[in-house]
Symmetry: C2
Subunit: 204 residues, 2 copies
DNA sequence: TTATGGTTTAACCATTTGGTTAACAAAGAT
DNA sequence: ATCTTTGTTAACCAAATGGTTAAACCATAA
């Protein structure tokens, strides 16, 4: 069994290895040889399947981004109340990122390196927009459910509180003098602490 | 006038150029030649004054970090009330970073690349600790000024809300469909919006 | 004036790195 | 069986890059 076909999904192995290396080291720090080693194949295969480092990188980046986009959609385009959305998003997002710890930093870093990537991605992925969220905030303010609140600022606050600790993990570990275990505990607490913090602030 | 001395502070020019290049491109993306060009001198001078890329980088990094540390001290080791600290810090920090936009991302990125830097820095710089802040939060909770609040989580929230938008600028510009001007406006609003948001949440 | 010492430069070097090539291997098609 | 296509590899290449060197430069102390 196994090994009937020659190409045991080499392409997939490459993408997997590339994901690991690129997410840990970034475009500039990553080495094609290291990706090949990690995939257990010859370096020439990387070019056979993906032509260039740049294209391989873009494949990984698109992939990562399209993993994150649906997460954001949960808060932007869903029909529950703002309060429920915040609760769900916070808890889900922290769970999700705990499984993909390099993801947010990778995306942010590479977006800073080359902001044009955003446009490139925007076309491929089904892209979340803010309109609905802003309207919903206005509506709930009007109804007296929320205090006067700017939807854009609220959106920034939500993603800041949820994403930042995973982007700045070493900084937080350093200041709080905690190790990986302590960090995980803290993030576990944040699944509820963050949404409470936000809701306390905006709910009338 | 001028040009009496041979070494017109070449060392300083190098550091300045290195700062620019390293902060924009990171350790891996930076090129010694580019730093030399930006400083308008021969590449060999970089090695004459700083021995190696690694050491030049560390000089820049230490410098950047010791610029940021005092900012954090404002919130950690100062005698005003929690509420006032948050107000002052938020406003000051956003002003400060607007003048050094690459700083937070640079530090976070390079700390992720090599978390050991933290220890290296911790020895040099007068290093802010969380003890005082945590005690103060507990005290104000006890006195009934604040709702029950965990000091560590509050600290994370404060720095998340203040720093994240500057780390993830391209992301935010993308989602909100705004340009540099719109972004600056938004950050200007945040000088008060963020502290109100936090205080609304924790004040009894 | 001329040694002297730090400063600066052009040329050079070894290594790394992304990418290519040519030969080979394994299936599938005929 | 043999031809053809696809997958895979070792060896190779040119460019880039961090770093070195030896000579030139130049302010100044003797």
């Amino acid at each position: 069994m196994a090994k009937t076909n020659k190409n045991q999904d080499t392409e997939g192995q490459i993408l997997e290895a590339a994901k690991d290396v690129f997410q840990k080291k970034g475009m500039d720090g990553a080495r094609m040889q290291e990706i090949a080693n990690e995939a257990g194949i010859n370096k020439a295969m990387l070019h056979y399947y993906y032509r260039s480092k740049q294209l391989l990188f873009e494949a990984v980046f698109s992939n990562a981004f399209s993993l994150l986009a649906p997460q954001l959609n949960k808060i932007l385009n869903d029909d529950s109340s703002i309060e429920n959305k915040i609760k769900n998003f916070t808890s889900n997002y922290i769970s999700f990122i705990s499984k993909h710890p390099y993801l947010p930093n990778f995306i942010i870093q590479e977006l800073n390196r080359n902001p044009k990537f955003f446009e490139k991605i925007q076309q491929n992925t089904a892209f979340p927009t803010l309109e609905k969220f802003k309207n919903q905030v206005s509506a709930e303010v009007e109804k007296g459910i929320l205090k006067p609140t700017d939807g854009e600022q609220l959106f920034i606050n939500i993603i800041s509180l949820n994403i930042f600790p995973f982007v700045a993990t070493p900084l937080i570990k350093g200041f709080l003098k905690i190790d990986e275990k302590g960090f995980k505990q803290l993030m576990e607490q944040r699944k509820t602490a963050v949404s409470e913090f936000i809701i306390n602030s905006i709910k009338k």
